[in-house]
Symmetry: C2
């Protein structure tokens, strides 16, 4: 309940609103009672980010498309839509930096890996004999590229030709990228 309140506060009022006092006020508890739940601000951000990554994973899993190329395109659309619907929670995934003196909790690292695996599966299906390292690099590159479009779309800085939707850019990106990778592996589309 405290974590859900923190997520609501973050989305409504931005990352500056993330204080134990304000979260406590939101759910009618004392600030002191929350210190056992969120040890410090980093811990709060980790827990929020794990919640956000879980929500994104759920949405990716709901993609019904079975064709691997269609699935990757749908994942791109889900990612763009997720960033637009929950911009503050999505931004915190990238804005929060774990101090060098602390270790990212295992659970958070596992959530990130699980998301990448979701991307790696259709890529591996497209090129069954591609080595795992190559699939990993392609999953991260394609994600980074889609991430750029999402970042720019959120700030209204895509500079698209008049009347072109962001969707057209996303489709162009995924299509050309996959065609190029398949061609480099000698796989017919």
């Amino acid at each position: 309940m405290a974590l859900a309140a923190a997520a609501r506060l973050l989305e409504r009022q931005g990352p500056e609103a993330l204080s134990t006092r304000r979260i406590a006020a939101e759910i009618g508890y004392s600030a002191a009672s929350l210190y056992s739940i969120f040890r410090n601000r980093d811990d709060l951000c980790w827990q929020l980010n794990a919640l956000t990554l879980g929500a994104l994973h759920d949405r990716l899993q709901r993609v019904a498309e079975s064709d691997p190329r269609g699935r990757l395109q749908a994942y791109g659309r889900v990612y763009l839509d997720f960033a637009c619907r929950l911009p503050a929670r999505w931004s915190l995934l990238f804005e929060h930096r774990t101090p060098e003196s602390l270790e990212v909790p295992d659970g958070l690292g596992a959530s990130i890996e699980r998301l990448f695996r979701q991307l790696e599966q259709p890529l591996q299906t497209l090129v069954p004999d591609a080595p795992a390292e190559e699939v990993k690099l392609n999953a991260r590159t394609l994600w980074g590229a889609v991430h750029g479009i999402a970042v720019l779309q959120l700030r209204n800085k895509l500079f698209l030709p008049d009347g072109t939707p962001a969707q057209a850019m996303l489709d162009t990106l995924v299509d050309h990228y996959l065609d190029g990778w398949l061609a480099s592996r000698g796989v017919q589309r």
Copy 2:
């Protein structure tokens, strides 16, 4: 001189430092004397962004590579390097939002167009018979994708497999993207 001081302040102390008072202190002038140079904060940001776009354009023009694919790859590296060297100035390009009541100055819009033309030229050389609108969309898509890698690299969030440099991701992106586009146009690499 005032603009150069503002650019130094921005890079050293972040966007919060951008006040007329602090810029004036930096160059030993009175704040009042600066109001004729920067009409307001938006005007200051526009002037800073025009300066930054000009500096980026200069660096792109210094790329000697004449092969169009090699030039596009070099542009990607210049962009990544520029973002890492001047992170605050580069970020202001995307963080500053012109209020709806104001119009972006013509000069700034022209600087942005000039940068895109720099990308469109090698793309058009690769596919001479591609219509202008298709080249425009490809220039903006490829830039958006490279931008994503730059954003994530700055925040140390690329999640690359151990030992893989960001450069490898950039090369993979540009290569696969161009190969895919060329294949869709029936052009042999």
